[in-house]
Subunit: 296 residues, 2 copies
């Protein structure tokens, strides 16, 4: 057994401050939500940075860790434009919102890196606040590597990804016994705007497509070619957790026309699979699904 | 356009209380974390129930909604045995922990249903607290249907699923540009303890196996048969977010021996995919991954 294969937790003392064991980050993970300067001095060389997921948008869906970090820990918060106004309103320190509009991604990211680096070199506590979960299509891994190379090992804090919470908030279980035993999350848009491979159709799988709705028509064509049946239920969940969240239900065969009629209000995700109808209001269907406590 | 295909938000007034639009749940979603009796009377017929995800275990990874619900909203909390002691310690009302040990699943679930139903009929606020996310292998959909059939439409509150947060807390991004553009979450154990189909190998996919480690040897055999290369990195994350979280790294070819040597401390998840090494401490590898801000 090679010793470097196992990464145990170096934070066993004091037990009152349990922390995760990150691979190769022995100096990371200072206490969340503390302003105690003594504890700070103990942990800090230069500044500290946390790369935090803000969840889908409703402040009630922030983690406690995220809430504490932006309301009482951070000296500066650097957020993406997608983070909701309601969450940004909680920030109690200087706030910088990256300008990553189409065409400005590179300069916006560069400015964000520069501001974060300056703050870290000044010994400040930096929160990099990202929509959803930092490691699910958030390119959090790349930012993590960037800051680590500068000598600042970020603490990564998960957030609710809309890939899971979006379906849930529209009452769609990605897994449901007898219907879906696995789920796949993929993007409808590859790097450099390429079209990624369409995943194989698997009957007992729910598939969530992110960044796919702008090319719905060609995606549906791809799905049909890949064997997704016309009658397979699909749902589009727009603006998950926001005031104006909306769920549009259709099938592979009807979704293009349904969206043409209903319009589309980004951002949204497309869910395809039999589980889309698992909790539908149909007494006959319910009888087949519920009250099977003998196997729970 | 059939009207029932679109579900807009009926909660636009007052704007101070934004709520999601659930399919077919016009009377659900009372305010989170309020004890205001007037607001309560307005929403309640009989009792109210929230089906809430507790996340992986660290109280800092609870959502604000979950924290408020168990500390100040609930009259009774019904939790699974898997929910961490640290989270249960936050509960400020009567707490019932379901006994769903092997062999007692049916009676444990029945007792939980009975207690919840009684509380609801007494007009109480019930929190059903589940490990992780309620709709990811939590059978939350079945409980949702059960309570809806009784006339009590549960509010569903997402939680961090260990399928995403586990890898993150071990510094493994499920998606990473140039390495993994999709991720699949599946179970290693089917219903009635059957072995599910092994998912096809896709090079740009990260696959997370839940409930698979007790049959690691046969799973690895299945993976090899399905074309997963021997050198594909795998990681096992045990007890994500707990004091004693541990991450064991290996490959498809070595993992059985590595786990034999290191031992296994449940619960844990198995992650397979090139992304397992995306953030590894290897300067040569890093050079290929970082600082590509021109495409961010």
């Amino acid at each position: 057994m090679n010793a470097h294969n196992i990464h145990s937790n170096p934070y066993n003392s004091p037990p009152a401050s349990p922390k995760y064991s990150f691979v190769g980050t022995p100096a990371a993970l200072p206490g969340i939500g503390t302003n105690d300067s003594q504890q700070r001095a103990q942990h800090t060389i230069g500044g500290e940075i946390k790369l935090i997921g803000a969840g889908p948008g409703d402040p009630d869906l922030l983690t406690m860790a995220a809430y504490k970090a932006i309301t009482s820990w951070a000296d500066i918060v650097l957020a993406d434009k997608l983070v909701s106004k309601e969450i940004l309103a909680l920030v109690s320190c200087p706030l910088f919102i990256a300008n990553k509009e189409k065409g400005c991604q590179a300069s916006g990211q560069k400015e964000l890196y520069e501001r974060a680096t300056l703050a870290l070199q000044q010994g400040l506590r930096v929160v990099r606040l990202k929509q959803g979960d930092p490691f699910i299509f958030g390119r959090g891994g790349e930012e993590y590597l960037y800051f680590r190379r500068l000598g600042f090992e970020p603490t990564i804090v998960p957030g609710l990804s809309s890939s899971i919470s979006g379906p849930l908030l529209a009452n769609i279980p990605l897994t449901h016994r007898g219907i879906a035993s696995q789920f796949l999350v993929c993007t409808g848009t590859g790097s450099q705007d390429t079209i990624p491979d369409t995943p194989t159709y698997v009957a007992h799988r729910t598939t969530v497509f992110l960044m796919a709705l702008h090319r719905l028509e060609s995606l549906v064509k791809d799905l049909k070619s890949a064997g997704y049946p016309d009658e397979l239920p699909v749902a589009i969940v727009e603006r998950a957790s926001a005031h104006d969240q909306r769920c549009v239900k259709a099938t592979v065969g009807t979704v293009v026309q349904v969206v043409k009629d209903a319009g589309y209000r980004p951002p949204g995700i497309l869910i395809a699979g039999w589980a889309c109808d698992a909790l539908a209001q149909d007494p006959e269907q319910l009888d087949g699904l519920t009250n099977r406590a003998d196997d729970l």
